[in-house]
């Protein structure tokens, strides 16, 4: 277990179900279903998948903005949340004699002290900043909440140095968010996340709303900040090129399940899961000559509704390798060497 001791954040069997009223029946939308991963200090884990596959929910759930339905979240050696279910070595839920899961110790810690360690940068730079607050107040809010300054002068000094850190003109501290461009606003959001000096930041599609040239600036800034401050990122995005550029490892999600996790280059050069293959083939190639020659794997059908999840592997309805075994049981994530984990029966 030396691997897990080194990790900064460890998520095991995380589940997030949202109740949905379906007529008189109450069903659950399984936004995240049994996801496990770990992030080391100073590492970037990219999380990719198509829209609606639960990437954002993973980020928000592990920051406990949503109350998790089940699973265990460990941060920096401390268990923040544990629903108490126990799992055997193969990842199967241990059931008691009565057919119900055995419930062990439940943990549900007050998150306030950990908010200082874990922060988030939001997707939409336009709605993630309060329009009634000046930049100074937006960046100063985390400082106020965690009482990170002794007097007004120190607060101001900290805010100005944060603004400088993310490349904003300190003269603009008294301006309102609507007076800035999208890229500048995202920098304000990043400065707010950095204000408490966190060890871990969830970047929830942090560059998706920006145009390409600004994306590059912001992504480079994320990298510089990582070098300077040693923060770890969970970088959620649907743009594979950006994720490949910034991430040390990449995880691929489909319909709330983890399909493949591997080192960034390994995943790019040697994808195993059929879903990852088709995802990678959809990456636009800047050179038209190569693009014409390359073969796109076009998936058939649509993403099934998360309310009517297929049995077993969620991808089997669109997978050309699907067999009966896929319908029967969800394949576990197995190591294919070098930490390349794949959840597929046939590949």
């Amino acid at each position: 277990m030396s691997e897990s001791e080194k990790s900064l954040l460890k998520v095991e069997h995380l589940k997030q179900y949202f109740p949905v009223q379906n007529g008189f029946k109450k069903t659950y939308l399984k936004a995240v279903d049994d996801i496990s991963f770990a992030i080391k200090p100073g590492e970037t884990l990219g999380l990719v998948g198509e829209s609606g596959c639960g990437k954002t929910t993973v980020g928000r759930t592990l920051l406990r903005l949503y109350e998790p339905t089940g699973g265990k979240i460990t941060f920096d050696g401390e268990v923040l949340f544990d629903s108490g279910e126990q799992y055997d070595e193969n990842g199967h839920l241990i059931l008691g004699a009565d057919g119900k899961p055995v419930i062990g110790n439940k943990v549900n810690k007050n998150m306030l002290p950990y908010r200082k360690e874990m922060q988030m940068v939001f997707q939409d730079p336009y709605s993630s900043l309060d329009p009634r607050m000046t930049v100074e107040d937006i960046i100063g809010e985390p400082l106020d909440v965690h009482k990170l300054y002794k007097n007004k002068a120190e607060r101001r000094e900290k805010i100005l140095s944060l603004m400088e850190l993310v490349g904003l003109n300190a003269e603009h501290a008294m301006r309102y968010a609507h007076e800035f461009s999208g890229g500048q606003r995202q920098r304000i959001g990043i400065a707010r996340a950095l204000a408490v000096n966190p060890k871990f930041i969830v970047c929830d599609e942090a560059v998706s709303a920006l145009d390409v040239s600004i994306q590059a600036q912001v992504v480079n800034m994320f990298e510089e900040l990582q070098e300077k401050l040693g923060v770890a990122y969970l970088f959620i995005a649907h743009d594979l090129l950006v994720v490949h550029h910034i991430s040390d490892r990449i995880a691929v999600m489909y319909l709330g399940h983890m399909m493949e996790v591997a080192e960034s280059d390994e995943l790019n050069n040697n994808p195993i899961h059929p879903y990852t293959l088709s995802l990678l083939s959809a990456v636009p190639i800047p050179d038209p000559e190569t693009a014409r020659k390359s073969k796109r794997i076009i998936l058939e059908g649509d993403v099934p509704s998360p309310l009517r999840m297929p049995t077993g592997c969620p991808f089997r309805t669109r997978c050309r390798y699907a067999t009966e075994q896929c319908a029967a049981e969800m394949p576990p994530l197995t190591d294919r060497g070098n930490g390349h984990m794949v959840a597929c029966w046939n590949k």
């Binding site: 928000r60 920051l63 903005l65 998150m111 306030l112 908010r115 200082k116 922060q119 988030m120 939001f122 997707q123 939409d124 709605s127 993630s128 900043l129 309060d130 329009p131 009634r132 607050m133 809010e141 985390p142 909440v145 965690h146 008294m174 301006r175 309102y176 007076e179 959001g189 707010r192 408490v196």
Partner: protein
């Protein structure tokens, strides 16, 4: 430096392509820091409030209403200090009550007053609107009536605002079962017939309140007035609470609220710092529109005889008592009625103006 592209040397007369060979190195100087600064001129930094006020001042109807309201408020503050008559006393000439000064026409003096003026040579303050059937100066009664009506409107609006804001924000922010229970209570209150409840409550409360307010400053207002405030407080907050709940439901889903929770801000602070300031425009507007509706209700409660107690008066009760002499003294009905219309119209137009100026969705 050439700014207009049509002046630039072209490769061909009809071409849009610029002939670069005709330029020299001087034309491609880098911009100096000064020139660069000129480029990043941003809009003047304005606060939400300043911006809204600027837009409000551009609206002639709203400015007109503001002026009318200002004049009315100035009038009801200043006139009682200047005018020698009081709302509750019969016109008095030289220390004796002039019992024959009743039902005077506007600007008419009674016999006693004319005699006094001839004797002493000094001029008496005119009865601008004449006197009523008891010989009280009608103008000052209208001024006091306006005072009462306006203060009923403002106090009722503030009560509605406070109750509705607290109730609505708790229901909206916490949601779920809390919201469900709180909003069902609102539904129940909403489904009661307003007028019936107001009339019943004012009758019942009247008797209950009287012993409690004996000898206090409230006694002057009269039990009717107090019960009216209570009725407003009890009934009219529901629409405000619904409105604010709706606003908060939509605002709390914004990412900046999630960001505040992610920072660790407490629920109360999120409500006070992020959510309520962002629905402030709706709150201001609804409160402004609540004033005329309260004045209206007060007027017609007074008209039904459930308003303020004599000798204090309000615009509604003035109109009510003017009914008796409608044929002979129509001005006694017209003046308070026109004043009610003016106040209600001005406040409604001001409310509309405020909505246009502050509601960011319309901008």
């Amino acid at each position: 430096m050439q700014n207009n592209t049509s002046d630039l040397p072209k490769k061909n007369l009809l071409s849009a392509q610029v002939d670069l060979s005709k330029f020299n190195a001087d034309d491609f100087r880098l911009a100096t820091d000064d020139e660069k600064k000129q480029q990043d001129v941003m809009g003047e930094s304005t606060t939400f409030f300043k911006d809204g006020m600027r837009r409000l001042m551009k609206n002639p109807l709203a400015v007109g209403s503001l002026i009318v309201l200002f004049l009315i408020i100035a009038g009801i503050v200043i006139i009682p200090k200047v005018c020698p008559y009081t709302y509750s006393q019969i016109v008095t000439v030289n220390g004796t009550r002039d019992k024959r000064a009743n039902n005077l026409a506007p600007f008419e003096y009674s016999k006693l007053e004319t005699q006094y003026m001839q004797k002493s040579g000094e001029k008496l303050f005119p009865h601008i609107l004449g006197t009523d059937s008891l010989g009280r100066d009608y103008f000052i009664r209208v001024v006091y009536g306006t005072r009462v009506s306006l203060s009923v409107g403002v106090v009722a609006a503030i009560m509605v605002l406070i109750i509705g804001l607290i109730y609505g924000s708790v229901a909206g922010y916490f949601g779920g079962t809390v919201d469900l229970v709180m909003m069902r209570i609102v539904d129940i209150i909403y489904s009661l017939p307003d007028m019936l409840i107001i009339i019943l409550l004012s009758v019942v409360l009247n008797e209950r309140i009287t012993p409690y307010i004996e000898g206090t400053a409230l006694a002057k207002l009269g039990a009717n007035m107090i019960s009216m405030f209570l009725v407003f407080g009890l009934l009219y907050w529901v629409s405000m609470a619904r409105l604010i709940r709706g606003q908060i439901l939509s605002i709390k889903n914004n990412e900046y609220v999630l960001a505040a929770r992610c920072i660790g801000t407490s629920n109360v602070k999120i409500l006070l710092r992020h959510i309520i300031p962002n629905c402030l425009s709706v709150i201001i507007i609804t409160t402004a529109l609540q004033v005329p509706s309260a004045i209206f209700t007060e007027s017609y409660l007074s008209f039904l005889g459930l308003g303020v107690s004599a000798p204090l008066t309000s615009l509604g009760s003035l109109a009510n008592s003017a009914r008796e002499g409608l044929q002979s003294y129509p001005h006694r009905l017209i003046v308070p009625a026109v004043l009610i219309c003016l106040i209600v119209l001005a406040l409604n137009l001001l409310g509309d103006g405020l909505r246009d100026a502050f509601d960011s969705k319309l901008n």
